[in-house]
Chain length 119, copies 2
Amino acid sequence: MDESCTVYRTMEYLSKRWSLLIILELFKGQEDGKRYSELKRDLPGITPKMLSTRLKELEDEGLIENVVDSSSFPVRSDYFLTPAGWALIDVVKALKDWALAWKIDNVACGLQDCADCHL
Amino acid sequence: MDESCTVYRTMEYLSKRWSLLIILELFKGQEDGKRYSELKRDLPGITPKMLSTRLKELEDEGLIENVVDSSSFPVRSDYFLTPAGWALIDVVKALKDWALAWKIDNVACGLQDCADCHL
DNA sequence: CGGTATCCTTTCGGATACTG
DNA sequence: CAGTATCCGAAAGGATACCG
């Protein structure tokens, strides 16, 4: 195990607080993505600073995309998953399946199409 | 998204630094698991305090098991994955596959049976 | 609305020494 | 060998105010 390990390098940015949850929220937004204020609303407890920071990191990693419409007022800013970001949902799904199988008894989340996250 | 979210609750402990890497190292040990000193050796940069802390957390979560032989001197302490811990490897594998597909060009890691982590 | 800027607290985690 | 104890610095992250 060293810094060349793929798992090691990937966890460096994915293990950060809120990162995967932001990905999950954008997935819930489906093809429409979500706006900054929607993400803020849907991630209770996150501060504006933290949200901005994580969004920038995820954009730098190529997992999300930001579309800004400066012509409207107030400015409209939408965030979407990139193909790489979409693909990450498989990992999140594996994580959820594991948790439901071994760790958590969460009926709502165990439904075929989870009412909350559709995962 | 709130504290009842399965993904949220799972990331609370799995996203901590070293946690998944410790799981991965124990997986590499296969049925023999690994000793404290082996984990320390195989996770360059981890401090004894950090290793102890994470091992305790993972044990509390039921992902690893610690077998101590006090009759030998020095005391022998071995760590193994529990069934829940073994099952987590599927998630780590999904993570690695995603990274190789979208983020990292890591030839060694992409081999059918990765020379380093056998994942 | 979509962020920044500032300040401040807390906790994470590193270094090192020590012990049964 | 398998940890624990102590100390300490850096950084992560929270609260809040503010701005175009």
